[in-house]
């Protein structure tokens, strides 16, 4: 069968999923019973003249039957025309793409944090099952899952920003991506869009320090959700694998405990973690909306939240489609990675 065929099959399937998402999104925009599709385009308090309204109707093909509207809509999507956002005063796609690097930087930091902490924690908890470390890990992880993300963010701000300041200690910033003063005095010419990478590439130390310190609290907050879930899955998966016969055989070969765990057990145990990578990303993106709001982090989540407050359905719906597309591609990546790690899948 081979690798490439497998990847192509997954791609085709995910393309279908995207189509379905576009249907939902389209229905939300145009097909909701009792909702006037034009309402989203009209700013409250700013009435439009009847001609302007007519022009808008024609532009959106609102007088055509729904299926025809859908075709125009999808054609527009593929062209890059995702509508115009009042909130951003820009076309939706452009607005989202412009703020995407901020969200990616945050999400990647969160994923790295949760993986670096979560995977070893889960492995150790499994190896020391039912002993103190295991219990501690499990307590922390169930607390983590139950913690409302926005509350955590606020609490962290309270402690690390407010209280540290009153104590006269250096504190971590609670708003934005980089200090306003620093941005003015040491401006950064963007290369990749990631503040951390770019400031390293350009040797801009003050910017790097400021950006890094701004990243700490939001990344940590966002990582909590996936961290807790990751630890549980890793632990359960590891326990399952350690019970397997081939682990006994590996031990019977005289291999050291470390080799058995790392080479034999971990490779098998990590696959369920990968499977959940797709859903984890989804949860992270949802969480990003909240975290970006709490910390005023200028990413796509914050933009979407502002869109909600503004009744800017075009933006919000465009955001939904955008996120779904990202998830689809990440899922594809995960499937490919899965096939790399577990050879049985390719056949």
């Amino acid at each position: 069968m081979g690798f490439v065929a497998y990847a192509l099959r997954r791609l085709a399937y995910l393309g279908l999923v995207l189509l379905g998402v576009s249907l939902i999104v389209f229905f939300l925009l145009r097909g909701m019973p009792g909702v006037d599709p034009l309402a989203a385009y009209i700013a409250p308090g700013l009435p439009m003249s009847p001609e302007a309204l007519r022009g808008l109707r024609a532009e959106l093909h609102l007088d055509d039957p729904l299926p025809v509207q859908y075709v125009y809509y999808v054609a527009g999507l593929l062209r890059g025309d995702w509508g115009f956002s009042r909130t951003a005063a820009q076309p939706v796609l452009g607005a989202l793409l412009g703020r995407l690097p901020a969200t990616i930087e945050l999400a990647v930091a969160a994923v790295l944090l949760s993986a670096l902490l979560g995977i070893p924690a889960g492995v150790v908890a499994a190896l020391r099952k039912d002993r103190a470390t295991d219990v501690a890990v499990r307590v922390v992880s169930i607390t983590g899952i139950s913690f409302p993300v926005f509350w955590l963010g606020i609490l962290l701000q309270l402690v690390f920003f407010y209280y540290l300041q009153t104590l006269g200690l250096p504190s971590l910033p609670s708003r934005g991506r980089v200090g306003d003063l620093v941005a003015l005095q040491h401006p950064l010419g963007p290369i990749t869009g990631s503040y951390l990478i770019d400031s390293v590439l350009r040797g801009n130390a003050p910017f790097l320090a400021s950006a890094a310190s701004h990243l700490v609290l939001p990344a940590f907050t966002l990582s909590l959700i996936s961290l807790a879930a990751l630890v549980r899955i890793m632990r359960a998966s590891m326990l399952e694998v350690l019970r397997q016969d081939y682990i006994l055989l590996a031990r019977s070969k005289g291999l050291s405990g470390r080799v058995v765990v790392l080479r034999h057990a971990l490779r098998n145990a990590i696959t369920p973690v990968l499977t959940t990578a797709g859903t984890t990303l989804g949860i992270l993106l949802g969480g990003a909306v909240v975290v970006e709001t709490v910390f005023s982090w200028p990413g796509i989540g914050l933009l979407a939240a502002q869109g909600i407050l503004n009744n800017d359905s075009v933006l919000v719906v465009g955001f939904t489609l955008f996120v779904a597309t990202m998830m689809v591609f990440v899922n594809l990546l995960v499937d490919v990675l899965y096939a790399v790690v577990d050879p049985r899948v390719r056949y």
Binding site: D245, A250, S252, G257, H264, R267, D342, R344
Partner: protein, 344 residues
């Protein structure tokens, strides 16, 4: 048979006693089991399910499950004590001295590593196997890997796997049950162990494949003078491969003899009943004679001789005193009051 080399017996199990933790209680599972295997010999350890033969075998390389504890006796491999060793020392023992071959090859092979990798691991652990002259440290990693792969192919060939250069890069799920079992045997032999323990290795295979594996083992024994502890419930396998036999019942060894002697003239009523229960092609019988009753649960064993409730020749001392292993002729011991077992 050619004269044996002198030297310590490869395996010596002396009065091994072991308990299992079941539902919160410690229950005796092995009761003063004794075995002995000389170099080049094949000992068949025979018994029904639950007789304790696997436990006995697992205690040699220290692979007992977590709920088992040894309460007495000694195990010596090549004259060296095994019980009470640290996990590190035991790992060394497993790497070079005692190789265990398990029952169901499919679940005992790691599905995400190639066959070659799983054999080559052995050489990673013990690089001295790659170069007998001992200059291994001087070899580069790449060279070592190349040699390990080459050796893996050699061992695959040794176990008669066709087209080993191709198989070495395959994943276990691509192989048939019989081939998988050969791979596991190759992994065992690659360590050049003093002792190979084979635990019901053909039980999970088809009859035809079973015959092939047994044939392979017989050839290998001749070819490389392998010392073998063969665990099985199948007397036919014992007849084919073993030099000596030990019969176990309910955690105890009840008879131990040369294989031909045992088959010709079994003494212990259990051994006799076992042999009678096996139908043969030359049998004119139309009625099978199974042994009435079943083996007692280890949580509730009968007193005295464990077999006495089912024994057709039970008499006075059987319910009270446990019979010890007593010699009945040279190289043939039996634990039965009929043969002067005495108190054991």
């Amino acid at each position: 048979m050619p004269p044996r080399d002198p030297g310590p017996p490869v395996l010596e199990v002396q009065e091994l006693s072991l308990e299992l933790g079941i539902r919160g209680r410690w229950v005796p599972a092995l009761d003063r089991v004794s075995l002995r295997i000389e170099r080049g010999e094949a000992l068949g350890l025979v018994g029904e399910s639950g007789s304790g033969k696997s436990l006995t075998a697992l205690s040699v390389p220290g692979l007992l499950p977590a709920n088992a504890r040894v309460t007495g006796g000694a195990i010596r491999v090549m004259g060296e004590d095994v019980l009470g060793r640290s996990e590190r020392e035991l790992a060394g023992l497993r790497a070079r001295s005692v190789a265990f071959v398990f029952q169901n090859p499919t679940t005992y092979l790691n599905p995400v590593l190639t066959v070659g990798r799983q054999i080559a691991e052995v050489f990673e652990r013990s690089p001295e196997l790659l170069d007998p002259s001992g200059r291994v440290a001087a070899l580069s990693r790449g060279e070592r890997r190349r040699r390990a792969r080459h050796k893996s192919i050699e061992y695959l060939r040794l176990v008669r796997i066709p087209d080993p250069e191709r198989i070495v890069d395959q994943y276990p799920f691509a192989l048939s049950g019989g081939m998988q079992q050969r791979v596991v045997i190759a992994m065992a032999l690659a360590r050049r162990p003093h002792l190979v323990i084979a635990d019901e290795i053909t039980t999970a295979l088809d009859v035809t494949v079973q015959a092939q594996i047994l044939g392979l083992l017989a050839e290998l024994r001749r070819q490389i003078d392998m010392t073998l502890l063969l665990i099985t419930h199948d007397l036919g396998i014992v007849a084919q491969l073993a030099d000596r036999v030990a019969v176990m019942y309910s955690g105890r060894v009840v008879e131990s003899a040369d294989v031909r002697r045992l088959f010709r003239a079994p003494r212990h009523p259990y051994s006799r009943a076992l042999l009678q229960a096996v139908p043969t092609l030359h049998d004119d019988r139309t009625v099978f004679r199974p042994i009435p009753g079943s083996m007692p649960a280890i949580t509730d064993p009968p007193g005295g001789c464990r077999f006495h409730p089912r024994c057709p020749e039970v008499f006075a001392p059987c319910a009270g005193t446990r019979p010890g292993l007593a010699p009945v002729e040279e190289g043939h011991t039996v634990a039965c009051h009929l043969y002067g077992g005495g108190a054991g």
